[in-house]
Symmetry: D2
Subunit: 304 residues, 4 copies
């Protein structure tokens, strides 16, 4: 059977209970085209205005409120040769008194070598003439329709996912979202060729993609915040400001996960995490910051 391919006609600036543009079977593997954060597609044609135009929503059969939607990112293929970023660092990631001395914010272009899997600034400052970064693709913004019939800007994020800009949301990772609406209503877009922690310039290297996904409904699995699984790690995502609160959400969700699925009560979970936990600052730029609480699977495997 061929993998279905979906190239959207319209793109949305919110995650919400909008009319589905397609229906995917529970367990189906699909390919979805995405435009970049400003709405430019693989041909460089602008298809929608910012912020972060989304492909979707996709109605996932069998998904009902109270379930969890598993979205495995099978592959991400950049489908044009140019990306862009902003510079300098955002005013909110440096000392306030220093921010005033930063140069004006500007957009710069990167040449994407898709064969070699590298990106280079097209017109670099001299000091960066040899600077190149490796292809490490990720979805900046994806998630499901939020609760209460809300429709929320793709600039921000919450328990339903959204603009988390976490660099581990790339190929090989399975993301888990709580389902709030019938069919879950999956949205995705804002692909990055690569990105550092925190998205401190306000962007990864923004470009358009073909994203291959497998979507699976986990009936009756209740989660509170986005979770994820890489080959090596489990993680939870908290989305809020300040970072402190994002970290609190993520940590609470990880303790819940260890209790629900690994038999660790909060005290045991604390002893475990206290000596082994890792935190990632996913984004420290968007209206809601994102922090991941991450645990190596080997730690859990060794308990058995």
């Amino acid at each position: 059977m061929t993998t279905r391919r979906f190239a959207p006609e319209i793109f949305h600036n919110v995650l919400g209970a909008l009319e589905p543009v397609a229906r995917f079977a529970n367990g189906e593997r699909v390919i979805v085209e995405t435009v970049d954060a400003w709405g430019f597609d693989k041909s460089g044609v602008r298809r929608q205005t910012p912020p972060n135009p989304m492909s979707g929503p996709f109605y996932i059969e069998d998904a009902e409120p109270g379930d969890t939607l598993a979205v495995r990112i099978e592959a991400m293929t950049a489908n044009r040769d140019e990306g862009w970023t902003f510079g300098p660092a955002a005013t909110n990631v440096v000392d306030p008194a220093y921010a005033a001395s930063l140069p004006k914010r500007e957009r710069v272009l990167w040449r994407l070598d898709r064969e070699a899997g590298t990106a280079r600034l097209i017109d670099p400052p001299a000091a960066l003439a040899r600077f190149e970064v490796a292809f490490a693709p990720m979805l900046g913004c994806f998630g499901v329709a939020p609760p209460l019939g809300q429709a929320i800007s793709t600039a921000t994020s919450g328990a339903y996912g959204g603009n988390m800009d976490y660099r581990r949301f790339g190929p090989g990772t399975t993301a888990y979202f709580p389902v709030f609406a019938p069919g879950a209503l999956l949205f995705l877009g804002d692909g990055h060729f690569c990105q550092g922690d925190g998205e401190i310039v306000g962007t990864g290297i923004e470009t358009s993609f073909e994203v291959e996904l497998t979507v699976t409904v986990q009936k009756g699995r209740k989660i509170g915040w986005p979770r994820g699984e890489t080959r090596d790690c489990l993680f939870t995502l908290g989305n809020a400001r300040p970072l402190d609160q994002a970290l609190q959400h993520a940590t609470t969700e990880m303790i819940a996960w260890l209790g629900q699925e690994f038999g660790l009560d909060p005290l045991a979970a604390s002893h475990l995490l206290g000596q082994t936990v890792r935190y990632d600052v996913a984004n420290v730029f968007n209206p809601a910051y994102s922090v991941a609480c991450r645990l190596h699977k080997s730690v859990l495997a060794a308990l058995a």
Copy 2:
């Protein structure tokens, strides 16, 4: 020449301009004994009350205000068979409404197998019967006398270092501190057998150590916040609350470093960091939180 060994008679609960207990030559390699965070030494004898009793201060010859003190951690040898931690997770690292459901805070003991380089809970909950963690030693609290003749509790941290609880401050790492007082006045202690990110239970595995150090004065090198260097990475430390501000300090200091020593102006530094930076949440427990802004040296090496 034998490495000098220093076993303190007294221990301090502040970093400040106190009477030096010894003088080290610029470039000298020394061994210093440290007690644990509650003041227990290698024999289990309490030598001082909390918080984090320090060995020192050590007067470093040639160090004057405006210089930088480089402290290379050559080795850390745990010198007793028992450590301790707290549990559960601290109330400030979980959602406020969830915190009330946590069990009471208690101190638990770990058996340290110094041969094998592992630690295990002495009386583990059943689910953690097989849980063990590897030896990954670090200094929780170290630094120099702060400016203005201040003397500041070892519970907290600042531009002078202090209780940063960063797990990368272990053997092989060189820490850099701004010098504010003649002789710099180095303090150290609060060794951890290991520790997760954030020190979320309020402790690493606390025990006593022999710490081997090389101290070197970098004349006229001006830095604003603690910096460090591992085999693979450079990093800067920001100490403040909330995490947002700690991250701002660390990022600003890293941009300064890239300008001063690597020829990158703020815009070039931003392009570089934007796609390659890593942040570590060193501690999210102490009065001042600590965030590291970290960069792989390979990124800089590839520029040349």
Copy 3:
């Protein structure tokens, strides 16, 4: 002409671009009935589930994106004899380590004496047997449809208004909202018989109301955040977490206002505010906190 009276049939849990339930003329004075934060109406009948069911949306003739909607609260009449609050103080307004010692959260009832203009706990603890508070009504949640076609929960707030819980949004105050959608789409509800600063128990004294309003479109007046005007003061509202960011939004908006309408450049505005500004912590409970930056009109009057 009689003031039009509007008693809604349906109530919404979001502010968004929903179907208007009525149209008001530019400059019209109207009376709107509101239910309480849990949806109970004047007869104690539950009309909608939480959070904060809204009356509206009301389409205001002439209002277009880029305008400002002025909503003068002419009067608020509590229309039943009972209100309710929660206790104890929310876990996020006390020290995290202290929060665990608070008693369980519970809902308590108040007898509203509408003649006397006082409220008393129906079943007070002994120490509060004589405790009564004066009628000082306010709208906890009101505002307009947010930008981008968003629909956002009435639990939170933003530039469009929403759940700000500011005690100065009572009779005699004019609120100003930026218009993002045709007709502005005014929503209102969540009336409080009274409320302390910060809404620290998570509620004011919640009850149902008749609210008398005059709605006026200010063509071409561009504002960035909700503003307001009492008999004596001007104020701006910032809505965000942490309080620091809410205060930043409010202060920036006040400096903008002083520039746009009072001829003060940012330096002059700073000299003025530095010695005369007042800040109010409107709410420190909701997902977005609210801070008002407030200035006595007499300060401005004396400049002329």
Copy 4:
């Protein structure tokens, strides 16, 4: 008996366990001269460098750790004709992206009319030609020696007091500080002719003063944070970043106070505060921000 007058020879930039410059009897009323935040005295002579040079420390007879020191501010007399402020608003009180557009920070002078009780900019921008502010004096920085033998910069604050910059610390107010060292060791200075909430330009109108005080030891009264009492109100001060944490400290301390001295358990205290509490943003500029939790005495009086 004449009130003793104390004109210091030396001034300190820390609060700590320094050598007392005078001893005051328990209950004594004294007059102390203070220099301004940059160390300029009544004659315009610089007596010490910043930050906030303190008069003191004063040893108060009978004060021992565990007691409370009551400092009643009887009167504050500005003793020169000039004051100064900074402008524009600090970068940390406006939106980060807006901060870059502010003009450069500069110091400006004010003419103090001590007869009339007013201050005016000496060289005002045209728009402020008629701007004057009324004399509302306050102590920006005062407190006692902190615990653990610490000596902490007068730029910041903590449980021991320090640079709180709260405009209600003026004549008629009694401040209460926890005593950590024998004799309490009172420091004071940084007087302001007046100041807005938040000290958002980084200063009040800074000038030198004669401060008349009565110091009284409250044996065995244990408090956790600075408290205060005006003619009409009780308040508690929390000092920390972000504002959220400062507010948590202040609220927790107020609940403790209501329990210790007014017989209200935490639930009753919450019902009371929920509808009546006021918060003041004392300072949002210093390394530690300060928030006051304030309650009208009339609320408590009506309970009896």
